[in-house]
Symmetry: C2
Subunit: 154 residues, 2 copies
């Protein structure tokens, strides 16, 4: 069961964590490159959540790297449980943030120029940020489900 692709410490887990880190960093970058996000609660929420996902994914990415290239770490039930719970909470928060941002941007674009800031590229940047957050959520929930699948057999 420990050989299941995507389990903590495997090369596919490394790939999933790399995806999470890259997409959450991209989402954060797209959002923070425009200061206007500060006016909307949903967009601030996305920045907060991605600010949590980045260190979480980065830490697990480093642990996976250590496990693959240097020394295979033992699989302890308690560690897998903590990773599963972290992934679960962050995946729900990411999905919530991505959906909130997407719906707010759609509403602002419908409302026209007076609400969406005059430079159209700003709204496009926010939309790209929401898309990156969705991709980050996808990888997070995948990691979460795989670790939960392994848990009962440990």
């Amino acid at each position: 069961m420990d050989e299941l692709p995507g389990t903590f410490g495997t090369s596919s887990s490394f790939a999933l964590r790399l995806g999470q880190t890259v997409f959450s960093l991209a989402s954060l970058f797209c959002m923070c490159s425009h200061v206007e996000f500060y006016s909307y609660t949903a967009l601030c929420y996305l920045v907060t959540v991605m600010g949590l996902v980045v260190p979480w994914s980065l830490t697990l990415l480093m642990v996976d790297t250590y496990s693959i290239f240097i020394k295979c770490l033992p699989h302890q039930r308690r560690i897998i449980l903590i990773i599963f719970l972290g992934d679960l909470v962050l995946s729900y928060l990411s999905l919530a943030a991505a959906c909130s941002t997407a719906s707010v941007i759609q509403l602002l674009q419908d409302a026209g120029g007076s609400f969406c800031p005059p430079n159209l590229k700003v709204c496009d940047g926010f939309g790209l940020s929401a898309a990156m957050a969705f991709l980050s959520w996808f990888f997070l929930s995948f990691s979460c489900l795989i670790n939960f699948w392994v848990l009962p057999s440990m």
Copy 2:
């Protein structure tokens, strides 16, 4: 493992399905009692998702009732897998719909009277609908996780 509370066919699963059905029906009722929801994509999306959750939960509620009071149904891996996948998809959709609705309502309330319809009770009704959708998501994701926990041992 079959005796785990919340597994398909147990009395706690019946309680979870009852919660899902009641809250999704309440969410649908709160939203549809005001025709203004039709103007916003996020609110239409909530109605669509709750329109999917209601028949799904109601069907499983009836199956659970049959299993408890009349005849204990056998646990087949394929059936549990289908129930898990249905719960997973609907729980993600519910969370997405609830978050989108909540963020849109918050934005409309911030924008003031010209966007949120003049009668304040309308916005309150939409907020209540989003809250009910959150509760429905909570029960759905709980059912989903329990069925996924049982799956590897079957």
